[in-house]
């Protein structure tokens, strides 16, 4: 579904050239849930933006559904760390924004999408809030609206950039359960960036570990814990904890290696 071949990204910063990503080869299968973890500054958000077509890679090839990425695609949605809702628009109207941008809302199309928007809001438990303005909602509810907005175009691929990181722990657990449920119902391919190891393990079919500066693929870990998974259920805690510990090791290990490299 998503293919990255020898992708690299170099930024010309004020302090010279910074290599954000180097030699990334990654193949995400259709309907797969991949999480990207790494320390801050390892280029995981950059990687997501390359797939989204928000940023052209310095070298290498990025392809979605077999086509090279040249810009944002209609069947790829992007979800941000913050809800990014337009403050003057109602919940429903925020969800409908992508359709409005498409301009393809004939009377029939609008009706179909409107129904879809209502269905999505129901899916995340926001029925009855359609006409509210964003500032009237809690952070978790706002992020749910944002989730609905990213689903309205029926995307094949969802790219999520630490979407739950600004939320409190409880809301975060709730939302990650909801996301798994939605994923099972709608069958989309998801690439999810996070800096929380537990979150990465609970959500993913595969966890991709990136090393920082320059961002490289460190390891890809398969997660075979049966779904639906939850941090709130004992049954999964041991397995999640075991894998988390291993990932912890991986992330910490290259930190010491980086220190060695500096010493040499």
């Amino acid at each position: 579904m998503i293919r990255l071949d020898g992708v690299g990204q170099v930024f010309d910063g004020r302090e010279g050239r910074v290599t954000a990503l180097e030699e990334i080869d990654l193949h995400v299968r259709p309907n797969e849930f991949v999480t990207l973890i790494g320390r801050s500054g390892c280029g995981k958000s950059t990687l997501l933006r390359l797939i989204a077509g928000l940023l052209p890679p310095t070298y290498g090839a990025v392809a979605v559904a077999g086509e090279p990425v040249t810009g944002p695609r209609r069947d790829v949605s992007f979800m941000f760390q913050r809800p990014a809702l337009l403050p003057w628009r109602s919940v429903l109207s925020n969800v409908m924004l992508p359709i409005e941008i498409d301009g393809g809302e004939g009377d029939r199309g609008r009706k179909t999408y409107r129904d879809r928007a209502h269905a999505l809001l129901e899916l995340v438990g926001l029925t009855g809030f359609e006409r509210r303005l964003p500032h009237e909602l809690s952070g978790g509810m706002q992020q749910r609206v944002s989730l609905c907005r990213s689903l309205i175009r029926e995307p094949q691929v969802m790219l999520m950039d630490e979407p739950f990181s600004a939320l409190d722990a409880l809301t975060r657990t709730e939302l990650s359960e909801e996301l798994q449920r939605i994923k099972m119902e709608l069958s989309t391919t998801i690439v999810f960036v996070t800096h929380s190891i537990e979150e990465a393990v609970v959500l993913a079919d595969r966890v991709v570990v990136l090393t920082p500066r320059p961002g490289r693929l460190r390891e890809v870990v398969d997660i075979d814990i049966p779904r639906p998974r939850s941090l709130g259920e004992n049954a999964h805690l041991t397995e999640v904890a075991q894998i988390s510990a291993r990932l912890h090791g991986l992330l910490a290990e290259k930190e010491s290696r980086a220190v060695d490299e500096v010493r040499q």
């Binding site: 989204a52 924004l97 303005l133």
Partner: protein, 259 residues
């Protein structure tokens, strides 16, 4: 802890207090004219001013209408020209660098210095007054609109990009809407300046308008008439300002809560 007083919380008090303040000021003024027995041509009492107005209300109101029209026309013209100008400035860095210093320069010129020139160029009619109002209003409107559009959060801009929105959509669906509260801040500054602009223009080579009336009353030492005209000017200014505040509440109801 002390309970918050009725005076700070009640909506009735919010309306009542300004009226009390105004009445107090007028009472003081009145008292001063009586106690110090000030000559009417130096400082007329409030009753003198009201009497002057009632002597020939049609005359003053007609001149008020003239000033009002000039002010509003110039103000609207400034919006019509200023908002697109801001849009261009935000859109193009080259244009911003090209035009911005020029705008600053024009804004730095004391407008009263141009008033006679405008008369030379455009005669004694309404046009030079409208242009004067346009000149004083243009800058604050352009600046506030441009600032507002530039302050659009990066993630919202990126969102629209990720949705493959066109530049036009980005401006109309996002930047312009996002700038609305700041545009209104600029408009409120501009409307007060607009009234000043029209009066300045009427001081020089005019045959009607409140500025003209004040000028004439100065020549004949009719201080009460000048005060009546000034009072009408302030009332006009207040009405225009609160008209904008009302419009803001109607158009940007989301802004009060989120900022």
């Amino acid at each position: 802890m002390k309970r918050r007083s009725w005076l700070t919380t009640s909506p009735t008090a919010a309306v009542l207090l300004p009226i009390v303040g105004l009445a107090g000021a007028i009472a003081l003024w009145w008292l001063a004219t009586i106690i110090f027995s000030i000559e009417s041509y130096l400082l007329p009492s409030p009753s003198d001013v009201v009497a002057k107005f009632l002597e020939d209300p049609a005359y003053l109101l007609q001149h008020t209408a003239v000033s009002f029209l000039e002010t509003v026309e110039g103000f609207l013209l400034a919006i019509v020209l200023g908002v697109p100008m801001a849009l261009l400035i935000v859109r193009s860095v080259i244009l911003e660098r090209l035009v911005y210093p020029l705008l600053l320069m024009v804004n730095a010129i004391p407008k009263i210095a141009i008033a006679p020139l405008l008369v030379v160029w455009m005669g004694f009619g309404q046009l030079p007054k409208v242009i004067m109002v346009l000149l004083v209003c243009f800058f604050p409107i352009v600046i506030s609109t441009a600032q507002g559009m530039k302050s659009t959060p990066v993630e919202l801009v990126e969102l629209l990009r990720s949705l493959n929105a066109s530049r036009t959509q980005e401006f109309f669906k996002l930047r312009l809407r996002y700038a609305m509260p700041q545009i209104f801040t600029g408009l409120k500054v501009a409307i007060s300046l607009a009234v000043i602009g029209s009066v300045i223009a009427e001081f020089v080579g005019a045959t009607e308008g409140l500025g003209y009336v004040i000028q004439q009353s100065g020549a004949s030492a009719d201080t009460a008439l000048a005060f009546a005209a000034i009072t009408l000017l302030s009332i006009m200014s207040i009405i225009l300002f609160y008209g904008l505040v009302l419009l803001e509440h109607l158009l940007v109801p989301w802004a009060q809560e989120t900022r």
